[in-house]
């Protein structure tokens, strides 16, 4: 309740003299004084209801004492409140006994009853599912969410909570508020979508619309998911702003686009992993226990869904794991290039599994074990010593039942069979394993094409950004001032990416430091008397160096960007563009000279 200058009310509670604003309830005063009063059907953001009566306390006014629910009784001048008097405790015990008769198996009730020493009930047990009819869900749904999807039905002992006419409530927006607020969590939010529980969803997403994206998020401040937020949809709720002391929540904030003038741009837009679903032969998405290496990272991470435990989809511990290299790379039908990093991270995965499940059989199916650089080969040898089985042959298929005659089918039928050709032994093999980890290769980011188009740099055949020169200028691009770094330029591991990042930054800083840019000497020039702004040259220039000056209606060339290729000179239909070198006149003179004889 906000501070108002209404007159204050004096009262004593449990012998403590205190003051409260008119209209405040005993519960609020008690909370302020840290006096514990049990509540079941009370929730701060809904109007007090007074159904469970467990919060009843003894109030004496002018000598006459009576029992009132602390949650809804508004304090009055001169009242004397006893929250733990002998009768209060006795009645609370009786109420709990009544509740135990009906809801003995409900966790909340049993715990509260236990606190008051009530473990058995003299009354006849009449177990009901778990709804203690506190009405919180109904009230939250109407007062806070505004969807009005739930209601009480019938009255007296056969009163229960349900949706209108027992059908599907069409106004329900599945916000889960009722499930959240239910003290006995008797309401569950069913995932009516019939999707299987697939590891890729292990991220389980945030539980509430307002959340900190993940543990180590920078900046570590909460964000609101506008689709899930009730306030954004129905205008109701708004609890988060009520609770936030610094009142930092502003619902109207929209994503804003900032227009920034910069001298140089570094594109480090990264990569995406190869989607193994494209190669159905590996069974990703069909079999629960086929996961990608990224998902393994998520699974084995301490703050991951399973707290770091490496388990199968059904939660049990896998005894045998196959790690398949080169999924989606060094493969004609997907990506021909080698993604460079999969071998090393596959070894790391094998090592991690060895740590988490010491007695597991780990198979690594590889074509060539590429461990370049210092320390990598040693790691590989260490893996060899740790008893990881290395099979030199690419995994070609994962199926649920054995296909080769030579394999001995495993006992339990939950095994996955990885077919491969062991080139060292020179025969096909089929490994019955519990789990398959696909070391997926690297691919250009989803929007790589779009980014290339915007920044007027072109992409190589395989989709990664084209550097100015593979050896001499790996972080520069053809357009001056635009640099690329990391996997955007091609698959590479972290050390290389970091090195490129530094290089790009250095290049950019050197530009800034230099203060001026060496221009191409023989850029093109537009003759404004002749040019009509027909935009043919705008379309032609790959560097976007030519723009149209709307008032004068003529093309204007930006010398800093022009690379002097001369394409626009040839393209200009009215011959308005000339060049400070290789000009028409010069070439025609050369031509004439050559054809003199």
């Amino acid at each position: 309740m906000e501070e108002t200058n209404e007159k204050l009310v004096k009262l004593t509670i449990d012998g403590i003299e205190t003051e409260a604003r008119k209209g405040e309830t005993i519960l609020q005063v008690a909370e302020r004084l840290h006096i514990d009063i049990p509540t079941l059907c009370h929730y701060r953001f809904v109007k007090p209801y007074g159904a469970c009566r467990i919060c009843s306390v003894e109030v004496t006014i002018r000598g006459k004492s009576r029992f009132v629910p602390a949650c809804s009784y508004q304090v009055r001048d001169g009242i004397e409140v006893q929250t733990r008097s002998e009768e209060v405790i006795q009645h609370r015990k009786m109420l709990l006994e009544l509740m135990m008769a009906r809801h003995s198996q409900v966790e909340v009730v049993r715990k509260l009853a236990h606190e008051y020493g009530v473990d058995t009930t003299r009354f006849e047990e009449m177990p009901s599912e778990g709804c203690i009819l506190c009405g919180l869900c109904v009230r939250v749904c109407s007062e806070v969410v505004g969807a009005n999807a739930l209601t009480f039905v019938k009255r007296g002992t056969d009163r229960y909570v349900s949706t209108p006419f027992e059908g599907k409530a069409d106004t329900c927006i599945a916000c889960g508020a009722c499930a959240y607020v239910c003290p006995t969590n008797y309401i569950k939010v069913e995932d009516i979508r019939d999707r299987k529980y697939v590891f890729s969803e292990l991220s389980l997403g945030p539980t509430t619309p307002i959340h900190i994206p993940f543990a180590a998020a920078i900046p570590g401040i909460p964000v609101i998911d506008s689709h899930a937020c009730i306030h954004m949809q129905t205008g109701e709720c708004g609890i988060c702003s009520k609770v936030c002391e610094p009142d930092a929540i502003n619902y109207e904030m929209q994503d804003t686009f900032e227009e920034v003038d910069v001298g140089s741009i570094i594109l480090a837009t990264g990569y995406k992993t190869f989607d193994p679903a494209r190669a159905e032969q590996y069974g990703y998405g069909r079999f629960d226990n086929v996961i990608t290496s990224l998902e393994f990272e998520h699974l084995s991470h301490a703050s991951g869904p399973t707290g770091g435990a490496f388990v199968k989809a059904d939660g049990s511990e896998p005894k045998s794991v196959a790690i398949l290299h080169c999924i989606g790379s060094r493969d004609k039908n997907y990506n021909e290039y080698c993604s460079r990093v999969c071998c090393m991270y596959s070894l790391k995965i094998a090592h991690l599994i060895r740590e988490k499940v010491p007695d597991a059989d780990i198979y690594e199916l590889y074509i060539d074990m590429r461990c370049p650089g210092s320390g990598y080969e040693e790691f590989y040898n260490r893996l060899l010593e740790e008893g990881v089985h290395f099979i030199r042959g690419k995994g070609v298929e994962v199926s649920q039942m054995p296909t080769l005659a030579t394999t001995t089918p495993a006992a339990s039928n939950s095994k996955l069979y990885v077919k491969c050709e062991d080139t060292l032994l020179g025969m096909p093999r089929e490994l019955p394993v519990d789990m398959v980890i696909l070391s997926v290769g690297l691919e250009p980011a989803e929007d790589a094409e779009e980014v290339a188009r915007i920044f007027k740099i072109n992409a190589k055949g395989d989709g990664f950004f084209m550097e100015r020169h593979p050896k001499l200028a790996p972080v520069d691009t053809l357009s001056d001032g635009i640099f690329i770094a990391g996997c955007a330029q091609g698959p590479k591991d972290i050390p290389d990416s970091v090195a490129q990042g530094a290089a790009a930054a250095a290049a950019a800083v050197s530009l800034i430091d230099a203060g001026e840019v060496a221009l191409e000497p023989i850029t093109s020039v537009v003759d404004e008397d002749v040019c009509t702004g027909c935009k043919t040259c705008l379309v032609v220039c790959p560097y976007g160096a030519i723009t149209r000056d709307e008032e004068k209606g003529v093309a204007v060339i930006n010398d800093a960007l022009c690379k002097a290729c001369g394409c626009c000179v040839a393209a200009c239909p009215s011959g308005a563009i000339s060049q400070r070198g290789f000009d028409d006149t010069q070439i025609e003179a050369e031509l004439a000279a050559l054809l003199m004889s």
């Binding site: 053809l478 000179v569 393209a571 031509l591």
Partner: protein, 158 residues
């Protein structure tokens, strides 16, 4: 330096004392690849006919069809244009423009009676010095077969 093959031919026709037709071919070579290839070909002492006189341009897209028209009009028997392979143009998309222009030009020439072989567009990257030499040799032979264009005689002398 005249090619050995041509000397035999001339021996047979000594009687008619026919000087073999040496086609005059203009070559517009892109500085980043084909020109570099010609440079490399030279340093690696590759043999190829001298009929192509080379004009260096920064990019094949600098070659204006009017140059080619003019070249033929003023006595060239053939025109060769060398550019980087598609997708590898130093200026990102220059060679796409050239491809379109030359295709259109070839159609126009076919209407003007200029044989197709006289105008040739080749993608020769800096390293393909062998290919450069072959192209030059092949084109020279073809134009020689076609004979001189000398466009001027097309009209009554004025």
């Amino acid at each position: 330096m005249a090619d050995t093959t041509t000397t035999e031919k001339s021996a047979e026709h000594t009687a008619e004392k026919v000087v073999p037709f040496e086609p005059k071919i203009i070559g517009f070579l892109c500085w980043w690849c084909t020109y570099a290839a010609s440079d490399m070909a030279g340093t690696s002492r590759l043999k190829y006919p001298p009929n192509v006189s080379i004009i260096r341009v920064m990019c094949s897209s600098r070659v204006d069809p009017s140059f080619i028209m003019r070249a033929f009009a003023e006595g060239a028997d053939g025109v060769l244009i060398g550019g980087c392979h598609l997708g590898e143009c130093h200026y990102v998309s220059g060679n796409y423009k050239t491809a379109a222009r030359i295709a259109l030009l070839k159609k126009t020439f076919s209407q003007l009676g200029v044989e197709d072989d006289r105008l040739r567009l080749e993608w020769i990257s800096a390293g393909e010095i062998r290919k450069f030499a072959e192209v030059i040799t092949d084109m020279t032979e073809k134009v020689r077969k076609l004979g001189p264009l000398n466009w001027r005689e097309n009209f009554e002398p004025k």
